[in-house]
């Protein structure tokens, strides 16, 4: 237990000493929050600020998960920091747990600040199911950090890692409803979005925040994120590499596909059954001409 606590303590201290961590975890997403709020006229209705809030949460989870966990792990391997740990009795488990817990601790103040801003500045009511919201966001964070760790495991260097992270990050950012409300998507993008992991994150947060749903009402999203977290964790442990010289076989990159499998299954299921993921309250957006006019 001592090793876990010491690693978490050090990870937190190191994170707080890096300006980039402060910027990308707090300032950068807040810039997006205010931009969304201005674009969508967040002060004019409960629906709009809740929508902005949903998008900002998803954006934060994606950034923290993919860049925070993934890129940092690659950097530590590239700089031979993990090589130093390798000659001690420590195993990958405590390192990954510490990374996960630290990511969560760093992320939660962002959520609190977002909530406070949305409530006091834009008059968003406090979410009725706050505990379930926090649990769902935490689950999303763990799932996306697991995904980030898998990417870190299969990327041989920072360049590869950056490309892989961006290959995940940008489609998820734009096709999940995290930056553009899902209501604005043309039908073909709606189908594609069913295969995007972040869609289920947005869907769950939307359901809990905008429709007062509980975790039980979002079981498909909860299930997909839980499976991703578990599979990502197992694959991350299996492929963990201490040294940059330990190159990974090209075929091992297919493990990334294993993490995406739950979403592939979910996408196919929803496509076949024509199930629509939970959509935000779009009426207000559409009346302003912002939303896509669906027939």
């Amino acid at each position: 237990m001592r090793v876990y606590l010491e690693l978490i303590k050090i990870d937190l201290k190191l994170a707080m000493r890096l300006r980039a961590v402060i910027f990308f975890n707090y300032l950068f997403p807040l810039i997006f929050f205010f931009t969304f709020a201005t674009l969508f006229g967040a002060g004019s209705s409960r629906e709009r600020i809740t929508q902005v809030m949903t998008m900002s949460v998803a954006l934060g989870v994606l950034g923290n998960g993919l860049f925070g966990a993934g890129m940092r792990a690659i950097q530590e391997r590239e700089m031979n920091i993990l090589r130093r740990y390798k000659v001690t009795p420590i195993t990958p488990g405590p390192l990954l747990v510490a990374s996960m817990v630290t990511g969560w601790i760093i992320f939660m103040p962002y959520i609190i600040v977002l909530m406070a801003l949305a409530h006091y500045q834009y008059h968003m009511p406090w979410p009725a199911r706050m505990t379930e919201l926090v649990v769902f966001i935490s689950l999303g964070l763990v799932a996306f950090r697991s995904m980030g760790l898998v990417i870190a495991s299969v990327a041989n260097n920072m360049q590869e890692g950056t490309i892989l992270v961006q290959l995940f990050y940008f489609p998820m950012l734009f096709l999940s409803g995290a930056t553009f409300p899902a209501a604005m998507f043309p039908p073909v993008v709606t189908v594609i979005s069913k295969f995007i992991p972040a869609t289920y994150l947005v869907e769950g947060v939307t359901g809990i925040m905008q429709k007062n749903q509980g975790l039980g009402d979002n079981l498909p999203a909860v299930g997909a994120l839980v499976i991703t977290a578990v599979v990502g964790w197992i694959v991350g442990m299996k492929l963990f590499r201490w040294e940059k010289e330990e190159k990974i076989r090209g075929t091992a990159k297919l493990w990334v596909a294993a993490v995406l499998l739950p979403f592939l299954i979910m996408g196919v299921y929803q496509w076949i059954h024509k199930t629509q993921p939970a959509k935000p309250a779009v009426g207000a957006l559409e009346t302003q001409g912002i939303g896509h006019q669906r027939t």
Binding site: E6, L14, I81, R84, P89
Partner: protein
């Protein structure tokens, strides 16, 4: 295995696909000994050391370190040894004291980090960030981290490579201190003078095999390279015929007629004969130098390569 044997290696082999990096080597390292592993790049020393540290699986043969099998008892072994690697880093923003506390938490036992930092002259730097330390301070911290679990066996992988001579001497002093504490050290180095100064015994590896093993002096004595005796007299030899001294391979008198260089396979005996002759001829001796073959000479003789090849 002898009770004071810390490392025992028998017929150790390591292959990577078609490449056999270690070709059946045998050696033992005893308690309190500083054992040097020398060899050019690609000689197989890194593979050997990494097998002994539990970082790499052997292909065949036997290896026992502190009574543990490095393949099967990795964690127990890592808990008991200290390792100082050549190319490692710590997070730039970690403080010296924090790194000591962190590494102490990795082991089942640890000693006072304050004592260690004081011993390694890092106490005043305990609040300094890693990125602000000099090369020598970083290396001393690496040694402090290797000692945090109070190991009886230390693996030092090129601990002074890239450091300036003054810091190298500092690190030599620390290694001598570890030896005085009866710790066993397995040292790999590119610096011959480091091995000569610090090692009780050295093994010279080349192309996956140990080509020589013994104390630096034993290896020097076994060398076919001749010792050089340099005599300077106060006055010229004035055409006096120089005798054919025993064991002398060649000799050369400088143009000034005062400096004589003699190459011998048995320098002590030859030197004795020269002194006798000088005394007999009444030639006043001004200076004498005897240079035995260095470990570098032995190394080149055995491997045909220089250590930095």
């Amino acid at each position: 295995m002898n009770t004071d044997t810390v490392i025992s290696v028998k017929s150790l082999r390591k292959s990577y696909a078609d490449l056999e990096a270690v070709k059946g080597i045998d050696f033992e390292v005893h308690t309190g000994e500083v054992f040097g592993l020398l060899g050019p790049n690609g000689a197989g020393k890194t593979s050997t050391v990494e097998i002994l540290e539990g970082l790499r699986l052997r292909t065949s043969g036997e290896a026992v370190v502190l009574g543990f099998d490095p393949d099967l008892q990795k964690q127990q072994l890592k808990d008991r040894i200290g390792v100082c690697l050549q190319a490692t880093n710590l997070p730039a923003k970690i403080r010296v004291q924090e790194s000591m506390d962190l590494f102490a938490s990795f082991y089942t036992r640890s000693i006072s980090s304050a004592d260690l930092l004081k011993r390694l002259q890092l106490w005043d730097k305990r609040e300094a960030l890693y990125e602000t330390l000099s090369g020598g301070q970083k290396q001393r911290l690496a040694l402090a981290l290797a000692l945090v679990n109070d190991p009886q066996l230390l693996f030092l992988d090129e601990p002074t490579t890239g450091l300036d001579p003054q810091i190298r001497l500092e690190i030599h002093g620390l290694i001598e201190q570890m030896k005085s504490e009866n710790r066993t050290v397995l040292l790999t180095t590119h610096y011959i003078e480091e091995a000569e100064r610090l090692c009780d015994r050295v093994a010279i590896m080349d192309e996956g095999k140990i080509v020589a093993l013994g104390t630096p002096r034993e290896l020097q004595q076994k060398s076919q390279t001749q010792s050089r005796i340099q005599i300077t007299c106060a006055q010229p030899f004035n055409g006096k015929p120089i005798p054919a001294w025993p064991d002398v391979v060649s000799r050369q008198l400088e143009e000034d007629g005062r400096n004589l260089t003699v190459y011998s396979t048995r320098p002590a005996r030859t030197l004795f004969e020269i002194m006798k002759w000088l005394d007999h001829e009444g030639l006043p001796l001004e200076d004498v130098h005897l240079k035995r073959p260095t470990l570098e000479d032995v190394f080149v003789e055995l491997t045909g390569k220089h250590l930095r090849d």
